[in-house]
Point group: D3
Chain length 135, copies 6
């Protein structure tokens, strides 16, 4: 931790406990991760982050596993160890296999490579891509 | 373009034409994108990049749509306009809907936010995450 | 350290000592941080970096605390642990409170999120923003 | 825009209008920016993003100008043109002067430089920085 | 430009003219680039940036061409169009050929790919790499 | 490691051993680095990455040392510790001296600074830079 402490349930205030209870129930876990215990040093950030995350990660047009894998892909691209480790577990819990992980890692690597080739050559956007995408 | 020209099929050498033919056949398109026409200024990069991309993006443990969406997510995170525009179309072609795109964008935004919250607070890795992930 | 050693005052040459003395006096500290002791392996980098930093971080139109907080915000965004830890202390020394830190972290997270939403949707610049900003 | 359209008030649904009204009232503006008109293609993202932003950017331990400047600093560091242009105006509206902007830009540049010097030399964290920061 | 104007020689103050003269003489050019004309809105930034750049880019243990190519590589990795375009010309002026550019772009792409593979797999540093590098 | 194990030669399959043999012979080393032992958990990634890297890093228009230094510069800019440590050694093996390293680090820092100054001021591309670069 840079500052503050990991706030445990027993010492937490009511607003923090409400979020911890919701996290534990939503995820079926006995305790919350350090991420939440760190954010609990600033309850408004804890509340807002959890409520945003719960909404964004809920199954919708994309299933929970795909969402976790996208999260993981971004975290790998940003080299955030904590995020990689926690979301790899989250994705695995949703069914990501070792083979899927390896393919995800390969795609993240490749995208980072070609993003730079595009920058290097300053490739102009194709006319077909310039307009608005219709689904 | 920073340098070189977009190399069209008619003016391309045999090694470049072979790749263009393969791209067109693999993707069922009449012409290749500017990205490939730019890389054709350096045939070894064209050949290697296409062959790597074809292998990495082929359906495997992950289907083609999920792979395109991961590619898109990384490209959004890196703010590569060309890559966002081309892979959004690639993903849409594989079945990504407008709603899926919007959810993907939300996850990418959220991951970038929480990656920084982790850095800000210097959250220590949970003991449960420190070990090797078993699938 | 990747290479070299942390250069202590006693073993340093005159050019390095002159900088160390200036750092200690400017900051009112008894010893310089590891950052400077590392750069002392290449005196021209030490001299240039310190003189630039001293100029850039001096109170001007922005006060020292605001400058330290901007520095910290960028370092969080880039996930540089050393820089986060040292500039959080620098900002705290200038009056940043725990609450200010938490709000700063929240803004950094939010900016990283919306920066990617802008990229995802490829939001066009408003006409009102396209021109030159007049203060 | 990558996809969708900029959603104007007249064509917007009730949930979107409610947010537009709140933005216009909170900021004292006649119309909302393109950012919000783009997010309105996915109302849940519009609602969540606005409510998060309103909370995070509200004056608290940090005043509104400092928050806008931190936002701007991160957006410069990430090279997001839209975000730089809109938040530079937001900061100016809160009192950022041309001189303050120039100093902010200098700090962002300097932080990006020293963040990489730290990485290059792999500077070890000082013992004094390793512990928890007490304010 | 976000703000200010491109400051031309005729309207510049003495401190700015001194730098413009030095740039023109050092580089053997008739006029300075827009980068310098933009920084001239804040003379202290102009002076400091030019003097730092002149020192850092001067031939030393590395020749001018290698330095320009490293600068270009970083700018590609960061996708800074202005920087890519200006430093590609700078490197070409120092002897970088089209083939060298293409190889440089390939290395930058590859490094960005493998940097992420390392993050994905969380590869532990080899014992042989953990210590201090001796040249 | 996030997942899998470092795969040693004795327990590796034939496809992995073939790559290990090639790496050891190409580089004149007795054992391969952890990077390769990690990728061996997914042989297609191992094979593709090695073959790509071998091609990209082979001396061509750029010599091996310059390529290693460009790789190192990108890795520093991305703050990938593993990559910095391994490629600093790779570059040193090809003749990079301590002084060259220090100058490389300074250029990487400087490029990261000016990349952000360009973004901050939104410097317009000079007419002379907008066209295609002729070598």
């Amino acid at each position: 931790m840079l500052t503050g402490r990991l706030i445990e349930y027993d010492e937490a205030g009511d607003d923090v406990r409400r979020i911890y209870d919701d996290i534990k129930q939503s995820r079926g876990v006995k305790d919350v991760n350090n991420f939440w215990k760190a954010l609990a040093n600033h309850p408004p950030t804890l509340v807002r982050t959890w409520e945003s995350l719960k909404e964004v990660m809920a199954p919708g047009a994309l299933d929970a596993r795909t969402k976790e894998m996208i999260y993981l892909a971004v975290s790998i691209s940003n080299a955030c160890e904590y995020c990689i480790r926690s979301h790899a577990r989250g994705a695995a819990k949703q069914g990501m296999t070792a083979e899927m992980f390896a393919e995800l890692a390969a795609v993240v690597g490749m995208a980072n490579e070609t993003n730079r080739l595009v920058a290097a050559w300053q490739v102009p956007v194709d006319e077909a891509f310039a307009g608005t995408l219709q689904f």
